[in-house]
């Protein structure tokens, strides 16, 4: 303390105090400031550049050079704008092979992905850099290995309320008008299911995180995985229920019995020789 009191009138004392104050303010800011957006780091900038290169080659012909979308002459949508769709939409569309589109059709089917994981990540980073949008979900919400029975039950309620109308009660999928369909949910990864709910691809409605919370989404995914892991007796028949089972029993079962009866009555070996 003696050192400070004897040197307080030193010509450099003012600068020393100023420096100390600045350092303290900086340290406090560093401690309490929100984490910087990841897109600012050098690695992500490279990723965005790589994504942009891939986009210009593979996507820009429909979605426009700057992902602004292309309108047809009649005002239709040649390729929708991707500004603000977020990384989640890219990860879903490219990761399930729906994009790039192979041909114009009522609906883009899922197929083996064209881009590998790194390329998909780069494309997602580029699209995410254009405008804020839903990010790829945290693993916390897509890991359903340790789900409680309570959450599973709740997930079932959410699934039956929001999803079964199109995707069927066990996620076997279903038909929609004009050649469109709700795809089956078997073998779809938890992350892609989450992203589909979040972004609403194609005709599927959006189920935003504000209404169906990430915890609810995790419960829904857990229910889908659980219900599809259960062994089904005999042939599942799409889990469509007793009406379809009954139809098969009547048409194929009863019809088969009639056909066999007719065949049995019409056949039988005979010999020309009379019994002696």
């Amino acid at each position: 303390m003696r050192f400070l009191s004897t040197h307080r009138r030193h010509p450099l004392a003012g600068y020393a105090v100023l420096l100390f104050g600045l350092l303290l303010a900086g340290a406090l800011y560093y401690a309490f400031a929100p984490g910087k957006a990841e897109a600012d780091t050098a690695g992500d900038t490279a990723k965005i550049d790589e994504g942009r290169q891939l986009f210009l080659v593979g996507c820009a012909s429909c979605h426009g050079m700057n992902a602004e979308g292309i309108m047809t002459k009649r005002g239709g949508n040649y390729g929708p704008s991707l500004i603000g769709v977020g990384a989640a939409a890219v990860d879903f569309q490219v990761g399930t092979g729906r994009m790039p589109l192979a041909q114009t059709a009522p609906q883009a089917p899922n197929k083996p992905p064209v881009y590998d994981e790194d390329e998909t990540e780069a494309l997602a980073a580029y699209i995410a850099s254009l405008a804020p949008g839903p990010a790829i979900p945290d693993e916390e919400y897509t890991d359903v290995s340790e789900i409680s029975q309570e959450d599973l039950t709740r997930g079932g309620e959410f699934f039956r309320t929001n999803c079964t109308a199109c995707h069927n009660s066990v996620g076997a999928g279903g038909a929609l008008p004009s050649g469109r369909y709700a795809p089956p949910l078997r073998n779809v990864s938890a992350r892609h299911i989450y992203e589909a709910m979040q972004t609403g691809p194609q005709q599927m409605p959006v189920f935003s995180d504000d209404v169906v919370t990430p915890e609810d989404k995790r419960a829904i995914i857990a229910y889908i995985k659980n219900v599809q892991a259960q062994p089904q007796g005999g042939f599942g028949g799409g889990g469509l229920g007793p009406v379809v089972d009954g139809m098969f029993a009547w048409i194929i079962g009863i019809g088969g019995l009639v056909a066999v009866s007719v065949w049995l009555a019409a056949h039988g070996a005979r010999v020309k020789k009379k019994r002696s």
């Binding site: 199109c166 959006v206 019994r275």
Partner: protein, 366 residues
């Protein structure tokens, strides 16, 4: 055909067509001759098992073998029932169900085909023709029956004692009255129940299952929310749910709604419903106006809502108009507003009956 089988036929009503019957000339001018001559039965040919005792013996062993296998399978069913654990799985199927089905099904199948084999290979198979009997009873029988009836009427004094007769007829006739009176249990008449739901002015629209109230900012363009009136998630002063049990289900059957958000430019509201949306968020009844199925097959890009039961399709951007299918009335829309806390609320009940149409649907009732 062998002679003993011919003799074994009962003489009454069973006849063998003979050559002269077939060639009989027409009895008169009205009944013409058969256009194609009756060819009669084909010649009866014996089966291999009829002529070869070895084959006959073999068929006998086959049939007995099938029946014996059926016995073994049935015992196998009982063994499987007690020994196979309930949750064991084989090839993705429950082992127990598979084993029970295969053993019991196999046993029934073997009994069936054993019986068929027996009938086709070993049982006598000569053709017989059984002629129809006349349906009328003989005159003697008819007279005897009428005699018994007349005797009963005479002995009971039914005709002689009009007091008893009339009171009995009255007693039996009035038995119809309880049946008519009990029709009252079909009621009471619904009154104005079909015209109202639990939606009230100021009631919040909440997400189904979780009960989260909805803010306009929570709902994105293209979003679908399966929603309910907030009252289903509220409790009264004693902490009991306001609606529960059957009452809840009945109220839900009318009050369930879906909220969707469509780009405001795409919306063509129905006449008089121009301001019923909030920035493109619209709430419609979830109950199909055809026969009342809950509908939420929502195509976000075409704005079409499809009923899975009979394919009625509504265009929600066009005031819920029916564009396909058997539905007649457009889907009722719930007028919306935002309350002081920023949550979506109804500004009134539905202005028209929700769900399937009924004869009085167009009457105005409060």
């Amino acid at each position: 055909m062998s002679s003993e089988s011919h003799d074994a036929q009962p003489s009454d009503g069973v006849a063998q067509p003979t050559g002269d019957e077939v060639a009989r000339p027409p009895r008169n001018d009205i009944e013409p001759a058969e256009p194609i001559e009756n060819p009669g039965l084909p010649e009866h040919l014996p089966r291999p098992t009829d002529v070869d005792p070895k084959l006959e013996k073999r068929a006998e062993r086959q049939v007995a073998g099938m029946f014996t296998a059926a016995i073994i399978l049935t015992i196998g069913f009982c063994v499987a029932y007690f020994t196979i654990p309930k949750d064991a799985v084989i090839f993705g199927w429950f082992s127990l169900n598979l084993a029970l089905g295969l053993t019991l099904g196999g046993a029934l199948f073997l009994i069936g085909i054993g019986a068929i084999q027996w009938a086709k290979k070993l049982m006598k198979d000569h053709e017989i023709i059984e002629m129809r009997h006349p349906a009328r009873s003989s005159d003697d029988d008819r007279e005897a029956a009428l005699g018994v009836l007349d005797e009963g009427v005479a002995e009971s004094g039914f005709g002689r004692r009009p007091l008893i007769r009339r009171s009995l007829i009255g007693a039996v006739a009035i038995l119809g009255l309880p049946a008519i009176v009990m029709l009252r249990d079909l009621g009471p008449l619904p009154g104005n129940k079909l015209f109202h739901t639990v939606w009230r002015k100021g009631m919040r629209v909440v997400n189904d299952v979780s009960g989260i109230p909805l803010r306009p900012s929570d709902i994105e363009v293209g979003q679908l929310v399966n929603a309910q009136p907030a009252v289903f998630f509220e409790t009264d002063s004693h902490g009991h749910a306001v609606f529960h049990g059957t009452e809840l289900l009945q109220a839900k059957a009318k009050a369930s709604v879906i909220a969707v958000r469509i780009r405001p430019d795409d919306i063509k509201p129905r006449k008089g419903q121009a301001n019923w949306d909030v920035d493109g968020i619209m709430v419609y009844s979830k109950i199909c106006t055809h026969v009342g199925c809950p509908i939420s097959l929502w195509e976000q890009q075409t704005h079409h809502l499809l009923c899975p039961c009979h394919q009625t399709t509504y265009d929600l951007a066009d005031g819920g108009k029916v564009i396909f299918g058997p539905g007649k009335r457009p889907l009722p829309q719930l007028p919306l507003a935002v309350d002081s806390d920023g949550y979506l609320i109804a500004t009134s009940d539905f202005h028209e009956p929700v769900g399937p149409s009924f004869p009085e649907v167009n009457q105005h009732r409060d």
